[in-house]
Amino acid sequence: MTISLDVAFIIKAIIILLIFAITLLIATYSTYAERKVAAFMQDRIGPNRAGPLGLLQPIADAVKMFFKEDFIPAQSSKWLFILGPCLSMLTALMTSAVIPFGDSIQYSSAPGKVWDVAVQAIDVNIGVLYVFGLVSLGVYGVMVGGWASNNKFSLLGAIRAASQNISYEISMGLAIIAILMMTGSLSIRHIVEQQHGGNWNIFYQPIGFIIFITCAFAECNRTPFDLPECETELIGGYHTEYSSMKLGFYLFAEYINMFVSSAMISSLYFGGYNYPGMDWVQAQLTGAMGEIAGHNVATLIGTIVFFGKSLFFVFFYMWVRWTLPRFRYDQLMNLGWKGLIPLAMINIILTGGAILFLKPLVMSFLK
């Protein structure tokens, strides 16, 4: 049996490794950015000791995490205690597989034969459902870890996390359904391609976007919805008993989730790698550099735009965290069940009505 390595395979492998590395890198530097943003909001300086501008702070933090004592409580169930942070990391890292980070890389193996490799780990036709499934699994890490700690505060945190995730998943799913009704596809790549030319979904789905981003905050356990680790009531919530890199994994998973959900928001509502005037840029580049090189450079620009959009939403997460106070738990549940779910259902009905009646009307008017 021989293993044949073709160029498409190598390009794909590089893309997958890059996506993985960049996700980790952005999550690492989000911890630094969070502290800098917090400092800026509170008129402080923030970390500035390790390296220029404190840029080596995340590395110093990681070293500190690794060298701390790794403590496992005596009455805990040991394997589940270890499994908790692993599950959190696993589900967080798996999600970025279906997100289209750019258009495609082209290369020609023989004259006249051009291959197209999408800048995306896998393009499955159930991409949205894949992300949704992993989001719903993300709570297991918190639940297992919180229960295995054998601590009442951890258990309360775990149970809060579970009920919060289940409640907000529903309205998140309903908000996505409105998008699916418009695009008619479950593949995230198709959804992004249909927003080409300024047709961003945010203009058609403003209510859906607000519902989705609220739910994303709740699913990532970010302030104002960080009730599972509410330190004024629960010490540290589900990670009270954790120390060393296991705690680091829980915190790190939160930042990965933040980045991935920002990438989801920008690809579902803000056109993904599309930007105004991209056709003109591509035409100029192909004119100047030839068909294939021009296409690749245009793809690269699109990818940079995509990261710009995603990083803006990462910043938005931080902005909100240092602006809004934490909700009370009954307020959280009321907002989820009595506010967002009815709103999401109304949004679905409005979208359906618009597709059935408004769209033909506008189309006939435009002709």
Binding site: S77, L80, V124, N125, I126, L129, Y130, F132, G133, S136, L137, V139, Y140, M143, V144, W147, L155, A158, I159, A162, S163, N165, I166, E169, L186
Partner: protein, 181 residues
């Protein structure tokens, strides 16, 4: 049976199938063999994952994803939730008397005999490679079948779900003047 021959004829898909099947059966057994109910639930989740793997092998991606979302993502979270609250211990084993154990053995054994009797001469369906459609499990074809051929049963099932949901809300509702907890 010549096992060396058996292994040399495995295609990647069939070897995946055997590994997955082994894992599925192992996890399924561990669900009933594990002493701790939390461990049982976690093994059950692993079983659902293995089943989703089987769906993916059959190119039914939609079913695989929905299986994960509905069973592993929603129902099992609630199972885990309830069991965490109950905090069952191994002392609760005492509630199983000998009579219960004997009755369980008899019933389980009878069911096993019936299954063997039914499946002993069963004809295994084979697929016809000429008319086999590998895209049958995709969302589009599933949607077409559901909304064209099975529209009425589908709608009836949704009404059933709605009734179950309203029933659950009615049962869980607090009347005016009831205690909070």
């Amino acid at each position: 049976m010549d096992f060396s021959n058996f292994f040399s004829h495995l295609t990647p898909a069939t070897s995946f199938f055997y590994v997955l099947s082994f894992l599925t059966i192992l996890c399924g057994l561990m669900v009933i063999l594990a002493k701790n109910p939390i461990h049982s639930v976690l093994y059950l989740i692993a079983t659902f994952f293995c089943l989703s793997g089987h769906y993916i092998l059959l190119n039914a991606q939609f079913l695989a994803a929905v299986n994960i979302i509905v069973y592993a993502g929603a129902i099992m979270v609630l199972f885990l939730f309830v069991i965490m609250f109950l905090n069952l211990r191994e002392e609760d084993e005492e509630s199983k008397t000998n009579l219960v154990k004997i009755a369980a053995t008899v019933v389980g054994g009878t069911l096993g005999v019936i299954l063997v009797g039914v499946l002993r001469k069963a004809q295994f369906g084979t697929y016809n490679p000429y008319v086999f459609d590998s895209q049958a499990g995709m969302v589009e074809s599933l949607g077409n079948v559901l909304y064209n051929d099975y529209l009425l049963p589908f709608e009836l099932a949704s009404v059933l779900f709605l009734i179950a949901m309203i029933g659950a809300v009615m049962l869980g509702r607090r009347e005016a003047g009831d205690r909070h907890f």
